[in-house]
C-alpha cells in the first residue's frame, strides 16, 4: 500500500459518487434500526430503482437526533427527514431534486445541528461504515501513512501531547503523557488496548463511533501502536454491542486486505494487528486493570495501581489503554495538526466532547460540542429544553460516578475541572436530564443500586459499603429512615469514596453526595414524613 494506492481508491470512490445526482443517507445504527431504518433503506433502494432516478442510497452512522429516528438525509441539498417509514420511500424518491416532503422534514437550521462541532463524529452520518473505500475517500488512513512514512514515533507523541488531548474515558488524563510513559517503559513487547466497554447508564457515545466510523478507531490505534512501539492491539468491546462488533470485524478485515493493518503496514517495517475481545457484561471491566485481567482470561477484577498498565499491563507488558473517543481524536489531530485542535475548547480542556443526551429532554441523541460550552446551552439550546412545559431540575453527568447538577450551576462551562468543582465528573459522556417530577433520593438510589450490583466484590468498602448505602437509600425511599440513618449514609459515603480500591467504589458515593449537596431538603422531607416504627414491624 502506497500513497498512490490510497489516492487511487479515493479518486475511484469520488468518481463513483459523481455519477449520482442524489445521495440518500439512511442511519443504520442500533437506535434507528430499532425503529426499522433497515427496512427504510431497503424501501428507498427499491423506490430509487423503480423511479429510475440517479440516486444512491447509503447506510451511514449516527446523525445525532436519535429520538426522531429513523433519520434520512438527502445530499447535496442537505434535507433531513425524521421518523421515516418504509411507506414514505416512494414519496421521498419522487421529490428528489424537487421541494422536500414537508411533513417529514426535520429542521436542521436549529441549535441542535448548528451548535455542534464535529471532530470525533466527522464521518458519522457521512460514510458507509462497512466500506473502507468510503473512509479512504474522506482522507482515511492518510494520517497513518504520513505518520509512518514521514514521522518518528516521538514526533507522533509530541504532536498528540501538543494538541492537549485528554483521555475521554472519564478522568481526563493527558493522552500525550500516557503515550510517552508507555513508549518509555521497557518491555520486549507492548500492547495497545481500546477500551470500548462503555457501560454508564444512558451512555452510547462509543457505540455510535464504533458503529458509524470503525476505521477511525483502527487508524487511531495503529498510529498509537507505532508511537509507543506496540505490534498488537485489542479492542475490548462489550458483547451487548453486536452491531459495533460486526462492523469492527468487517473494518479489520478490510483494513488488512488494504494493507493498512497487519504486516508491513504501508510498505514499512511496522506491523500491527488488532483483535477483538468481548466483555461479558461486567461494568467494572471498564476499569483498566480489570479490563486487562478479563483479556488475560481471569476474573474481571481491578488490582491496586501503581504499577499502572503503562508500565505493567497486559501479561505484564507495558500497555496503552485509551477509550474509543480518545482514539477517534487521533486521526483529526494528526491530519489537521495540534494547533488546530488546541484552538478548540478551553485552556485546560481541548477539543470537543461527545455526549449522549437523554432523559427528560426534547432532543434525545448524540451531540458533539466544543469543551467550555455551558450546560445551559446543551440542555436548552441544543437539547431543546424540557418537554411538556415541565421545569428543569438537574442534569446528571459522569454516569454512576458522577453527580446531579442543579439549575444554579447550568452556566458552568463543560470541562474536566469545572465539573469536578461542582461535585460531578466529566465521565465518558452520558448526560441525563431530569425534570421537576424526578425525586433526587430515587435518583441516588437508582445509581447506588447500579454500583452495588456492578461492584466486583474484591474490596470491602465497595462490596459492603455500596450494599449498606443502598439499604439506607431504600429505607429513605420507603419513608422509614431516621436522621441517624442519614448521618450513617454520609459517613459511609466518605469511607467508600476514600478507601475503595478502584474508581467504581471511589465514585459510587458521588450521586448521593451531589444530591445531598444540592437537594438535601428532599432527603429531609423523606425523614420528616417517615414512619420510623414501620421498620421494626413483623414482615
Amino acid at each position: 500500500m502506497m500513497i498512490e494506492d490510497l489516492q487511487k481508491i479515493s479518486d475511484a470512490e469520488r468518481a463513483e459518487a459523481q455519477k449520482y445526482e442524489h445521495h440518500v443517507h439512511v442511519c443504520m445504527e442500533t437506535a434507528c434500526i430499532a425503529s426499522r431504518s433497515d427496512q427504510v433503506k431497503q424501501a428507498l433502494t427499491e423506490a430509487a430503482e423503480r423511479a429510475g432516478k440517479p440516486c444512491r442510497v447509503k447506510g451511514v452512522g449516527c446523525m445525532g437526533l436519535c429520538s426522531a429516528g429513523p433519520l434520512v438525509k438527502v445530499e447535496p441539498d442537505g434535507t433531513m427527514y425524521k421518523g421515516v417509514t418504509p411507506e414514505d420511500a416512494d414519496e421521498i424518491v419522487q421529490k428528489l431534486g424537487d421541494s422536500p416532503v414537508s411533513r417529514l422534514e426535520c429542521d436542521t437550521n436549529v441549535p441542535f445541528f448548528q451548535r455542534q462541532v464535529k471532530i470525533v463524529l466527522e464521518n458519522s452520518g457521512e460514510i458507509d461504515p462497512e466500506r473502507i473505500e468510503d473512509y479512504v475517500a474522506r482522507d482515511g488512513y492518510l494520517a497513518l501513512y504520513t505518520a509512518l512514512t514521514t514521522m518518528t514515533p516521538s514526533e507522533v507523541i509530541a504532536q498528540v501531547a501538543k494538541s492537549g488531548l485528554r483521555g475521554r474515558g472519564g478522568a481526563g488524563f493527558s493522552t500525550g503523557l500516557k503515550w510517552t510513559t508507555v513508549a518509555k517503559s521497557p518491555g520486549e513487547r507492548k500492547f495497545v488496548i481500546c477500551n470500548a466497554d462503555e457501560g454508564d447508564p444512558g451512555a452510547f457515545m462509543d457505540r455510535s463511533v464504533l458503529e458509524g466510523d470503525p476505521h477511525a478507531i483502527l487508524e487511531g490505534m495503529t498510529i498509537a501502536g507505532y508511537a509507543v512501539g506496540a505490534s498488537q492491539g485489542y479492542i475490548y468491546v462489550r458483547a451487548e454491542y453486536p452491531l459495533a462488533v460486526e462492523r469492527l470485524k468487517i473494518a479489520i478485515r478490510q483494513a488488512k486486505r488494504l494493507g493498512v493493518l497487519g504486516e508491513n503496514i504501508c510498505g514499512t517495517t511496522f506491523s500491527f494487528n488488532v483483535d477483538i475481545r468481548l466483555g461479558a457484561g461486567a461494568f467494572v471491566c471498564g476499569e483498566e486493570t480489570a479490563l486487562i485481567a478479563s483479556i488475560e482470561g481471569r476474573m474481571g477484577q481491578p488490582r491496586p495501581r501503581p504499577p499502572y498498565p503503562a508500565e505493567h499491563g497486559l501479561w505484564g507488558y507495558p500497555t496503552l489503554i485509551n477509550n474509543v473517543e480518545s482514539y477517534a481524536n487521533i486521526v483529526p489531530i494528526m491530519r489537521k495538526g495540534a494547533d488546530w485542535f488546541s484552538a478548540i475548547g478551553t485552556e485546560k480542556s481541548k477539543g470537543t466532547k461527545v455526549f449522549a443526551l437523554t432523559g427528560c429532554i426534547e432532543n434525545t441523541g448524540l451531540i458533539e460540542v466544543p469543551m467550555g460550552i455551558s450546560l445551559r446551552e446543551i440542555v436548552f439550546d441544543i437539547g431543546g429544553g424540557i418537554p411538556d412545559g415541565k421545569k428543569f431540575k438537574a442534569v446528571q453527568t459522569g454516569g454512576p460516578s458522577g453527580g446531579c447538577i442543579p439549575e444554579e450551576h447550568l452556566d458552568m462551562p463543560v470541562d474536566f475541572e469545572s465539573l469536578l468543582q461542582i461535585g460531578s465528573f466529566m465521565g465518558s459522556g452520558g448526560m441525563i436530564v431530569m425534570d421537576e417530577t424526578s425525586n433526587m433520593v430515587d435518583v441516588a438510589k437508582y445509581f447506588m443500586e447500579f454500583c452495588m450490583t456492578e461492584s466486583c466484590g474484591k474490596c470491602v468498602p465497595c462490596r459492603v459499603g455500596t450494599a449498606q448505602m443502598y439499604d439506607l437509600l431504600d429505607k429513605l425511599t420507603k419513608n422509614e429512615a431516621t436522621m441517624a440513618d442519614l448521618q450513617l449514609l454520609e459517613r459511609l459515603c466518605d469511607v467508600v469514596k476514600y478507601t475503595s480500591l478502584c474508581g467504581l467504589g471511589q465514585g459510587a458515593p458521588n450521586p448521593v453526595l451531589s444530591t445531598l449537596r444540592y437537594f438535601r431538603h428532599e432527603y429531609l422531607a423523606r425523614i420528616q414524613e417517615a414512619n420510623h416504627e414501620a421498620a421494626f414491624l413483623t414482615d
Binding site: F536, L537, T538, D539
Partner: protein
C-alpha cells in the same frame, strides 16, 4: 455520699450475663456499699424507677415488649450499658434474622412440634422483623462485649463507671469471650 442507683435488665438473652454478674461473688458486697440495686431480675421491684444512674442491659431487642422496655429505660437512665454480646451484637438471638419471622415460628411450633402444633399468639409479645442490638434502637453509652463478659470484666466496668471514667476494655473482653 449517696449511693449510685444501678439497674440491670434482661431482654432477649440467656441470663448468662446476670450469672456472670453474680459471679462477682464477694466483690458484690463491696459494691453494695456504693451501689443501690434499684431494679433487676435479681431484686423485687417490678416497676423501672424514674431515675437510675447506671443500667446494665443484657439481651437483644427481639419483641415489641423489649422495644417498649428499652425505650422506657433509656428515658430514665443516665448511663446505659450494653452488657454482653446479645445486647452489643444481637448475638445468638439474631441467628433468626436470616429468615422471616413466619418461617421461624413455623419451624419451631409446627414443623418441629410433635403435639399441639400451633403458633402461640395469646399474651406473648409480638416478634420484631429483626432481632436488634440495643444501640440500634436507643443510644448506648458503654459497650461491654463478651458471651458472657467475665465477672472481672463486669467488675472492672462498674468500678470504672463509679470512678466517673469510661472503661477501656481493649485487653479485657471481646466478642464471644
Amino acid at each position: 455520699m449517696s449511693k449510685v442507683r444501678l439497674a440491670t435488665v434482661w431482654l432477649d438473652g440467656c441470663s448468662g450475663c446476670h450469672m456472670s454478674f453474680l459471679d462477682m461473688d464477694e466483690r458484690l458486697i463491696e459494691l453494695a456499699d456504693r451501689i443501690e440495686l434499684v431494679y433487676s431480675p435479681l431484686v423485687d421491684p417490678k416497676e423501672f424507677p424514674d431515675s437510675v444512674d447506671v443500667t446494665l442491659v443484657e439481651g437483644a431487642v427481639s419483641s415489641n415488649e423489649d422495644l417498649e422496655k428499652i425505650r422506657h429505660i433509656r428515658k430514665h437512665t443516665k448511663i446505659l450499658v450494653s452488657l454482653g454480646d446479645c445486647a452489643v451484637t444481637a448475638n445468638v438471638p439474631s441467628m433468626r434474622n436470616s429468615f422471616r419471622v413466619g418461617e421461624v415460628l413455623d419451624r419451631a411450633y409446627i414443623e418441629n412440634a410433635s403435639t399441639q402444633q400451633q403458633i402461640p399468639n395469646v399474651s406473648v409479645p409480638t416478634l420484631l422483623r429483626q432481632v436488634l442490638p440495643v444501640h440500634s434502637v436507643v443510644p448506648v453509652d458503654v459497650f461491654v462485649p463478651g458471651c458472657p463478659p467475665s465477672a472481672d470484666t463486669i467488675h472492672y466496668a462498674i468500678t470504672e463507671l463509679l470512678e466517673g471514667r469510661t472503661p477501656d476494655l481493649s485487653d479485657r473482653s471481646r466478642f464471644g469471650a
